[in-house]
């Protein structure tokens, strides 16, 4: 069985393969490419990566299942990851999770019926001085309050911005215009 992804994905993976002294190192970038295109690490994604790298699918599978950022089942178009580690918890992270849960009415990792949302609690995202915070797809939203987060979610629902990793450009938050840039110091 041969799986084909978009021409762009095929080009990107070939570029990654050339970067490393050993082609196997390109497994992780290849998984990201497949995930962004297919939405999660499906059986097709595993097959595609294995064929591209030239290894057995099981070797791709063990990598994909070890790391939490590869989704083994579909997530919503907007996947909210609320930090639950201490620094955020001390600043009110609990209220953020409760707020997301209440707004969506779903269980963690469950996709909302309209396919728009899913959420989970995750460990430290490295934004501890600006907690509580969450990540929506690959964008950080910091110094949150439940009210602020609800506003953000409303705007996202209305504007449908592209918040995927490949859309992160220099002005972070560009996917949600006018939203303060993620900053540390």
């Amino acid at each position: 069985m041969t799986v084909k992804l978009s021409a762009q994905a095929e080009t990107k993976v070939e570029e990654y393969k050339k970067l490393y002294p050993n082609v196997r190192s390109a497994i992780m970038p290849a998984l990201y490419i497949a995930q962004e295109e297919l939405g999660s690490i499906t059986a097709d994604a595993i097959t595609w990566v294995a064929e591209k790298i030239g290894i057995a699918p099981v070797q791709v599978m063990e990598v994909a299942t070890f790391y939490t950022m590869y989704y083994k089942k579909p997530v919503g178009k907007y996947h909210v990851q609320v930090c639950r580690t201490l620094s955020c918890a001390l600043m009110g992270g609990r209220a953020i999770t409760e707020c997301v849960k209440k707004r969506l009415g779903t269980a963690p990792h469950e996709v909302s019926p309209d396919g728009q949302w899913s959420y989970e609690e995750v460990e430290c995202l490295g934004s501890c001085g600006t907690g509580p915070m969450c990540q929506i797809n690959d964008h950080f939203f910091e110094n949150l309050t439940p009210e602020k987060l609800l506003q953000i979610m409303d705007r996202i629902e209305k504007e449908q911005p592209d918040l995927r990793f490949s859309a992160v450009r220099d002005a972070l938050g560009e996917g949600l215009k006018g939203y303060p840039k993620s900053e540390v110091i």
Binding site: L19, R84, A89, L90, C128, D170, S182, I185
Partner: protein, 440 residues
Amino acid sequence: MGQHRQILLKNVHCTDQHTIAGYESRGGYSVIRKVLNMEPAKVTEEVIKSGLRGRGGAGFPTGKKWTFIPKGTDKPVYLVNNADESEPGTFKDRVLLERDPHLCIEGMMICAFAVGARFACIYIRGEYAYPYQRVRQAIRECYAKDYLGKNIFGSNVSLDLVIHRGAGAYICGEETALLESLEGKKGQPRLKPPFFPAIRGLYDSPTVVNNTETLAALVWILENGGEAYAQIGTAKSTGTKLFSVSGHVNKPGVYEVEMGYPMMQFLEEECGGIREGRKLKGVMPGGSSFAILTAEEVAKATLDYESISGLDRTAHLGSGGFMVVDDHTDIVEVALNFAHFYAHESCGQCTPCREGGHWVQKIIQRIARGEGLAGDIELIDSICSQVQGHTICAFGEALSWPAQAFIRKFPADFKARIREAMEGRVQHRVPLNYEFQAAH
């Protein structure tokens, strides 16, 4: 940031510092040009003289680490910049990667030249999308100007640099796990010996793994000399260090402080003191992997490796990720938060850690929920003693030391909760943590 000497954060407030033009307008890439005309051994010598110690958490002397690379090896030598930064409470490298990516790259060039590496890699945590983009852009700028690739800066030295994105595994900050991950495998730490990175690292070749902050500090050291750097700080903890402060302080953030500075003064003056005029209960000084310092210990501590480890054998300056808690904080919930973290993040390779983490979480969770049993405190202590020292990497200690410190330093908090449960008068509390699913 007070009157502290600025070495690493000197230019982070300049809005164009992340561009190659901005970086070069402030003297960027002048040090590597000078270094390329030096003897590689002389570069290492300067770093040894500087007394610089690894900023990722272990505090191992950097120059000494480089000398472990076998002389005249016929295998390629690799350099890896550890930008995984997943230690809870730590966000210092993010500032450098985001605001001054070229400083990180110039530091890597210096190290690569000293150890003879022709391929270098930045392993950055997967969640750092913005820093990733900034560094990738910086790498592209360098290639466009022939600062990277073949014959960098017109010399006969070549260096390729790649940025590699992790995928959400705390353990990949451990250097051998990072190398496994970089090879396209599960991030499970390797046994040392024989897999010392300097001998059998990436692709079984000699490899130097240094933290981002460590590498960034090299630029100043090679510009001003190792001796000048050694003049800053204390005799054994030289230079400045970045501290990322979070939790119950008025001004959380990243600060650069000269080593040896009084800790309480730092919290009071730089970080604006404890929020809402409350009192300090304790500080986790080195991220979540070391013992908590009580307010009394903090009052005696100075910001250097020796002072903090001297106050408590299991405390360490670590990554400099300070998590500050005030006297209104429920320490049982704090302990539970960490226990959940370690139970979740164990790579699963060694049984004591894989199982022990969940046991510790389960027990702390029942104490927090008002279901604690007599003997639970001793049980936590006993499990922790059996985990530490019995695992391939230091995760066993990272799991055990903080848990043991919480019950040792705040026994009354735990005892009171167990007593409540046994006497059937559990008080209603709003827990700090969201309801955790049962440990699996």
